[in-house]
């Protein structure tokens, strides 16, 4: 891998392929975008984990009340 990230551009009229180093601004923008994507993914995973935990807790409470596994499963169908 090159030390500095590189961008490739294909000129559709001439067919000439140009390779250049990314500018500092482009590299900074990529870092911001990558962090935003990582934050969004982490938030989505945390939400999914919370929903799963809440579901398991609710099922446990229903079981403690005497509902069978089939009866608990029927509630979500």
């Amino acid at each position: 891998m090159a030390d500095t990230p590189q961008a490739v551009e294909v000129n559709c009229e001439t067919g000439v392929v140009t390779t250049r180093d990314l500018t500092a601004d482009e590299i900074a923008a990529q870092a911001v975008a990558a962090q935003a994507a990582a934050d969004q993914k982490a938030a989505a995973e945390a939400e999914a984990a919370k929903v799963a935990a809440d579901k398991a807790a609710a099922q446990a409470k229903l079981a403690a009340l005497g509902l069978t596994a089939d009866e608990i499963a029927a509630l979500s169908k």
Binding site: M1, P5, V8, E9, V10, N11, E13, Q30, A31, A33
Partner: protein, 165 residues
């Protein structure tokens, strides 16, 4: 009588070492729509990663519907991000994508769509269908960026022009 055609405008295959982004410039205005077909993977760690897509350097809000086989969901981003697989996926597997850009010579905002799958051999696959509205003029260039990493060697993109008459 209409004679629709699909013409290869340009293509690019990433070489050894990878590249951070691939773009096509000076796109001729002689077609009705554009279609970008890609076999693509990123060096960024993850089973999948978001990869910024631009028209004329601009992006826009997007919505993606995805499914894994065991679940489904949606995501929304402020910028056009199209998921491809990252380095956590099985080595040698590539995402397969079609990105459609209708009426690209229009001055109106572009509603683009894409469908594709990120592949992780037999363990995980992620199917994606997405849309994005990008406000820009007639499209003369497009670019797809690997974010904080590189598109890896053998990533290949084909840009086609679609003529409806």
């Amino acid at each position: 009588m209409a004679n629709p055609t699909m013409t290869l405008i340009a293509s690019y295959t990433v070489g050894s070492g990878g590249v951070s982004s691939v773009g096509f410039s000076s796109i001729p205005a002689t077609y009705t729509d554009l279609l970008l077909k890609a076999s693509i993977a990123s060096s960024v760690y993850g089973e999948w990663t978001d990869n910024g897509f631009t028209l004329n350097g601009s992006n826009g809000p997007d919505i993606t519907l995805y499914g894994t086989g065991s679940g489904a969901g949606t995501t929304a981003d402020s910028g056009t991000d199209i998921r491809v697989q990252g380095s956590k996926a099985t080595s040698g597997t590539f995402a397969s994508y079609d990105i459609y850009i209708p009426n690209y010579t229009s001055s109106n905002p572009k509603s683009i769509s894409w469908d594709g799958v990120t592949e992780n051999n037999s363990t995980t696959a992620l199917t994606n269908i997405g849309v994005s509205k990008i406000t820009t003029g007639a499209v003369t260039s497009l670019s797809w960026s690997a974010g904080s990493g590189n598109f890896i060697q053998y990533t290949t993109l084909y840009l086609y022009g679609i003529s409806n008459s």
